[in-house]
């Protein structure tokens, strides 16, 4: 094996663990080698904890700073970054949270993490025009049932068996008082980026089912059925109006004319 490769493998093992295996290759003129090696380990590990803290501020507030730091360090050891682009780091944290036993007491935490990750993805997603109300107004009414609506690249929908929108909202850093919430109420949230800002708002469960149907390629009539099954009094007009203001869609496709 090449000498350089051996050094790089030992350095790799050193910075992601607490074992100074690199020590046998390095020289320092004074002081303990471990003190110097710790500078590299600290840059890597603290740097990644900070990246995760920025991406998951509400998870961090819910579990507390100390627990978050421990959680993050375990996650980093299990899932170090694969890509030299740290805005993509943390995608696996929601699934990882589901495997951490003490966190089973916070069954909503996985969905909160998914919501926070969705916000990050939305921020960095491709640009492109959003579908405007005028575009939809031009669609001949008789073709509406067969209409296909494509989501904008920056749009994400998260549904949960827990009140995730309200849990997320009350735990944002600017909110000091956290009220008691009924944790059994199911909620959904949509994340979109109509301009330069990522917006997050609560939507009804029927609305979420409609949007998720669009994602899998369903036409409006099918998506509407999915919404009405969950929510018999679902108001499709009002929901579509909010989506057009909020930048949910990128484009529409009309059925071929017969």
């Amino acid at each position: 094996m090449s000498a350089l490769r051996k050094i790089q493998e030992d350095f790799f093992a050193t910075v992601l663990s607490n074992d100074d295996v690199i020590a046998r290759h390095v020289a320092v003129p004074h002081g303990p080698k471990g003190r110097r090696i710790a500078v590299y380990r600290n840059t890597v590990q603290s740097g990644l904890v900070d990246v995760l803290a920025v991406a998951f501020p509400v998870v961090r507030r819910i579990v507390g700073e100390a627990f978050f730091s421990t959680l993050a360090r375990r996650f980093i050891a299990a899932h170090p970054p694969r890509v030299p682009q740290l805005s993509t780091y943390g995608a696996e944290l929601p699934a990882y949270i589901a495997t951490v036993e003490p966190l089973n007491q916070l069954p909503y935490l996985v969905d909160i993490a998914r919501l926070e990750w969705a916000r990050g993805e939305s921020y960095f997603a491709s640009d492109g025009a959003v579908l405007a109300a005028e575009d939809l107004a031009r669609v001949p009414p008789d073709t509406l049932p067969d209409l296909h609506l494509a989501l904008h690249a920056a749009t994400r929908v998260i549904s949960s068996r827990h009140p995730i929108y309200r849990i997320w909202h009350v735990n944002r850093p600017e909110n000091a008082d956290i009220p008691q919430l009924d944790l059994t109420v199911a909620e959904a949230a949509i994340v979109a980026r109509p301009g330069h800002h990522v917006l997050t708002r609560q939507i009804s469960l029927g609305d979420a089912a409609m949007i998720q149907s669009f994602t899998s390629g369903a036409a409006l009539s099918v998506a509407l059925d999915a919404a009405l099954q969950l929510e018999p009094d679902f108001d499709v007009q009002s929901a579509l109006h909010q989506h057009l203001i909020g930048g949910t869609f990128a484009s529409l496709t009309l059925p071929p004319t017969r």
Binding site: F12, L16, V51, P81, S87, F124, S126, R193
Partner: protein, 271 residues
């Protein structure tokens, strides 16, 4: 950095050029990239990378190189730079600038990677000297010699970080002034200055390149001495953590400018 963002949104600031970390702008879209699109037609941009991992024994990551090229095609930077370090191994990215042994074997690896990057990007890159907290027992040449040989073999240039020269010398027992005197000025395309933090004292004393303080006086002295010898170069004050008010940053930039102006006058007289 509310101060900087405010200054940007109010009026076009009187700065000569901008430097960004390439890796912060590799997303497909979003407001951050839009901000760069707004300024890039009006100012020279320097794209300073931290993730290409020029020292990786297994070669460069083709996908990362391709992402960088798309960014450069979009922004058309005046300068592109990377570090004499490594950070990628076996498909894992370690978010630091990890040190290399200065050996013939490592020189072959880095030269091969720099060649590939320059060919793929169709342009010269500048390579920056890193701050070091350890050295390798197997090294056979000083860092300045390794860099000089790398430039000779590949045609790359140097991004000379004066603070890193000082931090490495203090930590590893070297002579900063002697290092800088050995650098061929013709190779230097840009200079970095930054503040460091002194952690611990006595036996365990270590200088950490934190980019969170004012540039230290010995580093200013080394900078003055260097630009007096090689002439003025585009100079950046790096400040990434514990950001001060914008006026403090402008004060540091003014101090560098005064030294550059003085060196320019001296160089004209010499010519």
């Amino acid at each position: 950095m509310p101060d900087v963002a405010d200054a940007l949104s109010s009026a076009p600031p009187a700065v000569a050029w901008w430097e960004v970390h390439s890796e912060n702008f590799l997303s497909p879209g979003g407001p951050r990239l839009a901000m760069l699109d707004d300024i890039s037609p009006h100012y020279p941009i320097s794209c300073h990378g931290v993730g290409l991992s020029l020292g990786s024994h297994a070669g460069l990551d083709a996908q990362h190189l391709a992402r960088l090229k798309s960014l450069f095609d979009r922004v058309r930077p005046a300068l592109v730079s990377e570090h004499l370090s490594w950070s990628v191994i076996a498909g894992t990215y370690l978010n630091d600038l990890l040190p290399l042994p200065y050996t013939d074997e490592a020189l072959d690896v880095v030269a091969r990677n720099v060649d590939r990057a320059q060919q793929f990007l169709g342009r010269q890159i500048l390579v920056e000297n890193p701050s070091a907290y350890v050295t390798f027992a197997t090294s056979t040449m000083p860092e300045w010699e390794f860099l000089a040989r790398l430039c000779a073999r590949t045609g790359c240039g140097l991004l000379l970080d004066v603070n890193n020269v000082y931090v490495s010398a203090e930590n590893n027992g070297g002579d900063s002034a002697d290092y800088l005197d050995h650098v061929d000025g013709a190779l230097v395309g840009e200079i970095h200055l930054a503040g460091h933090t002194i952690e611990d004292e006595g036996e365990s004393r270590v200088l950490v390149d934190t980019h969170s303080k004012l540039v230290a006086d010995p580093v200013w002295d080394l900078y003055r001495r260097t630009v007096q010898r090689i002439g003025p170069r585009p100079t950046l004050i790096e400040w990434d953590l514990d950001l001060p008010p914008l006026t403090t940053l402008m004060g540091e930039a003014a101090r560098a400018n005064a030294i550059l102006t003085h060196a320019r006058g001296q160089n004209v007289r010499a010519a």
